[in-house]
Amino acid sequence: MSDKNNLIVYCEFEDGKVADVSLELLTKGRVLATKLGVKLEALIVGDKLDNIENQVFPYGVDVVYKVADARLYPYTSNPHAAVLINLFKEIEPQICLMGATCIGRDLGPRVSSCLHSGLTADCTSLEIGDHKDPKTGKEYQNLLYQIRPAFGGNIVATIVNPDCRPQMATVREGVMKKEIFAADYKGEVVNLDASKYVSDADFVVEIIDRHIEKSKVNIKNSPIIVAGGYGVGSKENFDLLFDLANTLGGEVGASRAAVDAGFVEHDRQIGQTGVTVRPKLYIACGISGQIQHIAGMQESSIVISINNDPNAPINTIADYVITGNMEDIVPKLIKYYKKNSK
């Protein structure tokens, strides 16, 4: 493997729009590629890909590979895996990033298994660094540090992939920040002939029916989040949180425990197995603050914790701690907001 092999991001898209998670990975990929002195490449596999490169170029993409075939959209496992496997044998990327989505987590393992390249799921941070094998003493330069929570989020592990390529990693939506690199950045477009990468035999799974709905919940981009935990106690009490969120112009989030208890739907879950958020204001009600939850909201600017337990772990990272029943306190917050705002 030469040090000049490039970094490639597998881009997902729906309704002709490249997914946010892919743009976030391109943003991160640009930084890593620059550090390595290599090109940032994007791979888009699907149908009706005309001009789709213009959506990714501003993120600093040097090469866009496009593989178009009507049968490649919507996504199915084997055909997309075949494209990646055969293309990677040809262009030998040193790093491949994909979203830790239903697609990326279905595709990544299949590709890594065939290429015998290591894959690290759900990374929360990616860095470039050196490594020395503790046993052999062999030294490696410029490896991808794949940093991820392990053991239910109770520890953080740095994983490296010393000998196998590509070094593959998936990252959840919202974990990396999406940022335009240069609005007028232009790279090269490489149109690949789908039939050279995927065979008819790969199309084994047939999609009979598909209902994709844009999530109605947009907690990722909400500047104010009122989040509830198991301590909220019931679906009915969550209505109070919705009242507060509506009053303040925010969204309602939840901890995994509250979602598991059925108080709210899964797309409101914040934390390692949900969404990562960075609002201006995070009001945590009845959330004890398991590590997994804190990891998904610790970058909030201001945190208010409302909890019966004065020693709830979340209080240590809160700017304001109000000890008491959320059923008492939340209505007061609503009342005084209405009184003081014009």
């Binding site: 084997n78 393992p109 298994s113 989020g153």
Partner: protein, 290 residues
């Protein structure tokens, strides 16, 4: 039509509720303090297998697990709910494996079964949350895969129709058999243990457990072959030792750190009207809200 169903399952430490006593003073995890449980989504997969068995009398469900010899506990747990038998793939050389080495070892074990119609497993295990082993096994066996399955709607004529739960909707797919299906936590919960099956299988043991039984129990196991669980090692499944365990894992753990969050200086407020109104006024004044 009777089916040969393989369910992949893992015995995992219960990482969902790691209390203070489970963390050692040096910040590492005291695994011994965590109960070992049946990986939750593998139970969802077992339920889908049991439904297939209900609909196709004469079918057999075999649980396959890789781990320590004590993982036979989850085989019994599955048998109390309706599984027929199980295999523990256990060998020191398999230890320290990443997902790729794990999937290779399990795929080798699956090959030993010869005939099977469908392989089911949980989407992911709670100790790693990677969701990689299912698709990797499918690739190694040259089988198609259906991930994020919520319900098996139909199985007939060599096909399975599966409803998948995606982050932004649902998808129904038709996939030829044999295939690998990984089941989501949103699928139906596993049925509870059945009292009759507990009676029937409570002495189901693996070879390394037989020794712990008294003579009467040993005689019982001898007389009833369905109480004999199997233990396979790396040699038995003809595993290439370069592809298993720590040595066969392309990913290496470079460092492990305890999670430490920077504590902030918190202001403690009383639950009274004055202090809450002051807080609101402050948040409005600094344009956080309003």
């Amino acid at each position: 039509m009777s089916l040969n169903i393989i369910v992949l399952a893992k015995q995992v430490p219960d990482t969902r509720n790691v209390g203070k006593d489970a963390m050692k003073e040096d910040g590492t995890i005291n695994r011994a303090a965590l109960p070992a449980i049946f990986n939750p989504e593998d139970l969802n997969a077992l339920e889908q297998a049991l439904r297939l068995k209900d609909a196709n009398p004469g079918s057999t469900i075999t649980l396959l697990t890789m781990g320590l010899p004590r993982a036979s506990e989850i085989i019994r747990e599955a048998m109390y709910r309706g599984a027929d038998t199980g295999v523990v793939l256990t060998d020191r050389v398999l230890g320290g494996a990443d997902t790729l080495a794990t999937s290779y070892s399990l795929a080798q074990a699956v090959k030993k079964f010869g005939n099977y119609d469908i392989i089911l497993g949980g989407r992911q295990a709670i100790d790693g949350d990677t969701a990689q082993v299912g698709p990797q096994i499918a690739e190694k066996l040259g089988l198609p895969q259906v991930t994020y399955a919520e319900e098996i709607l139909e199985l007939k004529d060599g096909y399975v129709v599966v409803k998948r739960r995606l982050e932004s909707g649902v998808e129904t797919v038709k996939c030829p058999l044999p295939c690998v299906v990984t089941v989501n936590g949103s699928a139906a919960e596993c049925r509870p243990r059945n009292a009759k099956l507990i009676q029937k299988y409570k002495y189901a043991v693996s070879p390394s457990e037989v020794e712990k039984l008294d003579d009467a129990q040993k005689a019982l196991v001898e007389a009833r072959p369905y109480l004999k669980l199997q233990e396979w090692n790396a040699a038995y499944v003809e595993a290439d030792l370069n592809q298993v365990g720590l040595a066969g894992s392309p990913t290496k753990v470079k460092a492990i750190e305890n999670v430490v969050f920077t504590a902030k200086e918190s202001r403690r407020l009383e639950n009274n009207d004055e202090q809450i109104e002051e807080l609101i006024q402050e948040l409005i004044a600094n344009h956080t809200i309003g």
